[in-house]
Symmetry: C2
Subunit: 142 residues, 2 copies
């Protein structure tokens, strides 16, 4: 027996501070928009950083499970990630550039819960996302 003698340090997956994880965390904290794993991978590559695609996928998933990222699925089926604030909110996403604004909608929450009950459903969750063209992209497309 060599490592871990007593029940103190919580060893196990997800706790090592690696170069790859630092890179991803940094890039995410700098992002305004929702981005895909592929985009993250390409961007890191472009800036000369060496990271494996599988690692990007794994890390993004792990962070999501840990509640550090919000997920969204684009129309063409790609999974997009974003580092958001901690409170419950919804997203107003630009269809063109991905820029995202966090918005809240207390009315929606209530409506959702009520609608669920009314039909005998339990454990009701809701998916509420808004898509549009941000001010900048609206202007650009005129």
């Amino acid at each position: 027996m060599t490592a871990r003698t007593s029940g103190s340090a919580p060893a196990g997956p997800g706790r090592r501070d690696t170069r790859q994880r630092r890179l991803l965390r940094d890039q995410l904290s700098r992002q305004e928009a929702f981005v895909s794993a592929q985009q993250m991978y390409d961007d890191l590559r472009a800036s000369g950083d060496r990271v494996g695609l599988a690692t990007v996928y794994r890390t993004l998933q792990a962070m999501t499970e840990a509640g550090e990222l919000d997920v969204l699925r684009s129309d063409d089926g790609e999974v997009l990630y974003r580092q958001c604030g901690p409170q419950h909110h919804h997203h107003l996403v630009c269809r063109s550039c991905g820029v995202t604004v966090e918005v809240d909608g207390p009315a929606v929450e209530k409506w959702a819960a009520k609608a669920g009950e009314a039909h005998g459903f339990t454990e009701v969750t809701h998916v509420v996302e808004l898509f549009g063209l941000c001010a900048a992209c609206s202007r650009a497309s005129r």
Copy 2:
């Protein structure tokens, strides 16, 4: 020149009444739940009907573009289809059996439009879906 002499009968894609399309339309009109192309394919196969997978995908897509079907993406990324009523509505979907109830939420529509404007977004659309366990599935899982 043989077919189409004058500018009357709108020839072109999407208008032939084939056995496969009838089968799909029939099965969809009998479905309470959102279903995937694969499921449709399997079900048709199971009931002895001969249909190609590509045809199922193509037809479902065409019907969707024609506004005859509503689309939804499952958590694991599959596209699900359902024949719904013509008016704008949202869905309360059972996570377990897929059974769906159409619900409306005037409050949500307003909130969405307003939130969009407030941040300078244009052409705002919304995705609002509710997921839960239907009464039957809630009972079964106790």
